[in-house]
Homo-oligomer: 405 residues x 4
């Protein structure tokens, strides 16, 4: 096991921070998007499992349900109505401890009921107009893990052992473009907004490209047919979205253009109309881990992890924990030192070693102009050490706040 | 539609290229890994569909089968033998044109047979010791797309229209660490190697962390039980892998350490033994788009796209085409100018516009020391224009070379 | 097409009516039994389809959903509580018209939503303590029929054409043993009874063997764990059932013995305890057409059809219509002539011919002592002709009364 | 437990044997019919399980896989060719012992592999032209039984205990019409016949109605498109079938008419053409237990059991064993006494009692003219006792001869 002085590696990397670069792209898939939905049902099942294990056995047992599949249905929306014809199919797959030896007898964990309950509740919370009894089929394929993995887990000491040799990536701060993209989706999917413009479905996708100060925002909104009586209503609903997004954008020192549902060809009758508010009703499929990263964004101008955070257990699964810890470290470095433009943190675990003993924590810094890296190193090391010594706290943070991919 | 001078944006970004940075992480999931398998079956179905459409209708019709799910089975490996107990379940989901109006009557496309044939052949090619008749269940959930999407496609001009507002990301060149990771997996999964050390299964995962010149390579190999008569055989097989990887690594100016199957605890009987050569036989699940990027690597120190390349149609699907085109552009810029240390290309499409008319092509360059960016701009623009004017060629490239995530 | 005098064939067959025979066996699977549940969900989907087609198109379009599968779950009942661990899985399979050409455009029939709604409502009506959101997964596999079958249907004249060469079988009257078995299950599954003895689940199976006047009734009742706090409660609930059944039986001139849950071995802890009231929660599976015949009974001392009545369309499907018409004919012959001890009716259709033109109607009669068959023939022929001329009325009868297998 | 003199009940029932009655109906679904296929895959899985348990543990462990579902596919046959478009889906459901405690450790029974292997081999043997890799998806849903049932089994003495209170029914002899129906299907599905008239698919259904000496035989044959180049070929193939059936029928003293594929309307292009030889390729679905009884026939003029024989374990499952034993008894009574026209045997078990101690064996006899029942009773009782004392032998009979529903 490397010493602290070995495993924390701090370096300066680049002159131009992303916000200083000429071009930046950012995307966010809203909560009703099939990929986000796949994330959310995976995470919902994970949390319900955590709660069940905690309540029944005093600790979270091994599980990993980070593989889901959403198979879109078929629908026939029409102005003022329409129907889903083939339901959406959702399956969460993965592993979990299904049998627990307790006091000489074997307990069966009701995985199936836990999974169905969690998925159903998650979908109920996500959509206003998806009929849970008719428009969707919920299924699960969660099995006992291989004997070996379970044994690894059982050997565990106080600090859990890493489940894999794997990494997490985080950065700070968000650029204005990133903040804008996050806020646009959150606004359009807020309870208040749904009251104001109820036709806007939960499947909202926001994509921004910034060229210098000019930002083109493309917003795709699945409009809900019951609120749209005719083409005029549709056009009005889109215009309202555009106006509201522009108003929000006016808080930023960016020159923002907005296009809503860019693929529409109203003259051909091609518009983005849905019965339920999600494109999953008619053909869009989804998988866990294919959408937003842990910070809620897809950022091709940033270093990212490909690990799905959703559905992984918050005890020993590096793909979840280190993504969150590295982001926490990055935020602290940015906020507490106040001397860096940008900071990227990569953490690498070693399978079978305690999760507070990573193999490497790499901190890459773009210092503010005139700041020398040398003077920051001690502070950064302290932040890293502090977060590692508190790594068990992350579990509680995860379980106690609402999940949002 | 922006003019050329508008849409190609070239800038310099950073002083230190990745190979110059102190820490670098690289991962590759081998062809037998559940995520790679999900990619490969998606792509296999996509290609079989392309071939069928081309043969039957002279052009590739709309499809997108980039969502697969692998649900691991359960197995009972033992020295010298063992058996799979619950088969692996594989399903490919997505959309495809299922009915074609042809000469007044409606042709039904045999999607089911095409999908099963392609998946079966893909898995047959991947594994030597997975019994296709007993160890695996193949399924598909591919439906007609929504009417709207099909219509968009039919309107198409000569140059296909982008299916979405979406982006692709590419870079060049590979670092030595990246090359090493690629080569290690390819060696261990080569036909020659399987003859030499047949116990090494197809599920090979390679992860490297470089700290300055020092590289720690973690290799996870699913060993195949029929070739492993006892613990000594197992240890020997691992040692052979280590030795062979070290030998390969000696071609690089890197100081390489190798650890094989780091989670093993032989004294507890915990070793990485499988019947079939993949961890999917006993609990590891997979999704499309969760593993290697288009260049075969997972590179958290690089800009990446989150789009799955596998399973997307090569005609209009930006998530596939622009990932490949941007990589091609990056390679050409690197190889033809010979004046950049690194180059990153981000391409953004606009839904409904021809794919050779992207909204933005962003080229970010780390010039070689002493090279001014100004002098390179003309050459880079020419390369971008050349690749765009040849964008239709990419389709052929995709279909004609073996797929390998 | 044979003339009336040809196709109605009346004959005497036996001296001893079933009630006069020494041994008689009768069985009824209650509404919560997995096979009955399979019947009921098939029929529920059929009826919902009928209603949808009638409402949307003015006539019932072709369908046949007479194949269902119930895969039992797993559960952990315990005195006073317990839980389902793996949900029950229910799938209804079959064929239905999914696309209708209407006014130049193609309507999509929302088969999936219709099926899920009907199944869910059926199960909701059946069980008091099965949690529809967690204890069960509902699925469907209903596809467009082969083109040929649809065409046959569309050619149809006023009187629908038989869908198959197939037969129906009916008889009258019921023996006392048969009536008793019917009444026992109906009592135990009545709303009033559930108030009195709520522990009695819906999965009730009644089997009677009569030897001369002595009847052994075996009653299997899935007891519901939330109402059973301990073994004494369980024994009490069984005793109550026994007592109530004996009381009901006292209305019959039979010497009745009752045994409840004969497989119990309380000393080994083996009792018939369930969380939900059905054995499907823990291992009993079901298929459509495997339980009660159209008259609600399984009668191995009677001529029976093997056709499932449940799930077949009531317009053209002989396996449903002729089973009902033949039973109607038998009842009329018995009730109106008042001169037969027993009567059996077999009806055979000819595919492609109107359903009111059967190939054969065979009426087999056990006349009352001293009655000559010759004198009955005219009346029987008139009854047959009358029922055939009213054959379209059967459809309404089917749709208007609650289905009960 | 009743004494012998109590539990064997012999009586005379009727004057007219079925062959003397004026009307008789008989049906047989050939081996390629979806219901027969469901039976055959259930039974194939059962037998493979028996063999596995015997080989591994020296005895057959509890299982019951008598619930299958065949969901028909979709196909596009054409003269000389065609293709399956959506594969047939086959799932076998049920229960089996999945874990066995052996020498201190727990063996996992590879249920999944056993099931898939058995199903695949069964289907391979059934069809000549169904592509196992593309035209069909095989699945299973076989789970550990409820703890209770397993325990019942484990307690077992030498003679297994009945799994249920249930009955079996048998009769003898077959009428000429019954023999004819059996032979017609067997001829048309014989290897020799397939060489002579290869266009005749395996999905053959034969239905006979006898009116006095006149028999109308309706034969439905799924013709195989690759052998049928045009309408003339089709008509020729049907004529050959008709001629061959008539020739076979000439061995019987019956006046036989034959109609092949009665639903055809060649002028409308409606003929019974398939790619694979089974109607399951395009819409016909199947369930276990819905077709032929244990003697290979559906006989609505006979007493029948509704229990599926296929898929039930041959050790303790009354629904299988008593159907076979009762048929054996009936045959012996008929053949050895040579004094009865017909004999029906009903056997009733009592759950938890040894299977050689039925609650009732009811033998109903139609004596030959002039024979008094009294003189036969002793012989019949001896036959019943003999068969019961040999009841364990039935298991071997079942496992050693090819299954054929």
């Amino acid at each position: 096991m490397p010493e602290k002085s070995n495993f924390i590696l701090i370096e300066g990397i680049a002159q131009r921070a992303v916000y200083e670069q000429e071009v930046e792209m950012v995307e966010r898939k809203g909560k009703g998007h099939p990929d986000t939905l796949a994330d959310n049902v995976s995470e919902a099942v994970c949390r319900e499992l955590c709660n069940y294990y905690l309540k029944s056995y005093g600790s979270i047992l091994h599980h990993n349900v980070d593989k889901a599949l959403i198979v879109g249905g078929r629908s026939a929306p029409s102005f003022g109505g329409g129907t889903v014809c083939e339901p959406i199919y959702v399956v969460v797959a993965g592993r979990a401890v299904t049998h627990v030896m307790k006091g000489g007898s074997i307990d069966v964990v009701p995985i199936g009921n836990i999974a169905l309950r969690a998925m159903r509740e998650c979908i109920r919370r996500t959509f206003r107009h998806l009929n849970l009894d008719e428009d969707i089929i919920l299924d699960y394929k969660i099995k006992q893990g291989s004997a070996d993995l379970v044994k690894v887990y059982e050997i565990g000491e106080k600090v859990p052992l890493a489940n894999d040799t794997s990494f997490g990536v985080g950065y700070a701060p968000l650029t204005d473009t990133e903040k804008l993209v996050l806020e646009v989706e959150r606004m359009l999917n807020s309870d208040e907004y749904k009251k104001k413009n109820p036709a806007v479905g939960e499947d909202v996708k926001v994509l921004a490209v910034r060229r210098r100060r000019k930002v083109d925002l493309t917003v795709a909104c699945a409009m809900i047919s019951r609120y749209i009586k005719n083409m005029d209503d549709y056009i009005k609903a889109k215009e309202d979205v555009k106006e509201d997004v522009l108003k929000l954008a006016s808080n930023y020192e960016l020159d923002v253009d907005v296009e809503v549902n860019a693929a529409d060809k109203p003259s051909l009758g091609l518009i983005y109309l849905t019965v339920t508010g999600t494109s999953a009703e008619a053909g869009d499929d989804g998988n866990t881990g294919r959408g937003n990263r842990a910070n809620g964004l897809i950022t091709p101008n940033r270093y990212m992890s490909l690990e799905a955070v959703a559905g992984k257990n918050p005890v020993s699964h590096i793909g979840k924990i280190y993504n969150i810890v590295s982001t926490n470290i990055a935020r602290k470095v940015y906020e507490e030192t106040r001397k860096v433009k940008e900071v990227y943190v990569h953490m690498l675990s070693r399978i079978g070693y305690p999760i507070d003993k990573p193999l490497v924590v790499s901190v890459k810094v773009v210092p503010q102009d005139g700041v020398s890296l040398g003077g920051l190193k001690y502070d950064i090391e302290s932040i890293v050490e502090g977060e590692l010594s508190n790594v068990l706290r992350v579990r509680g943070e995860i379980l106690n706040k609402p999940f949002e991919c």
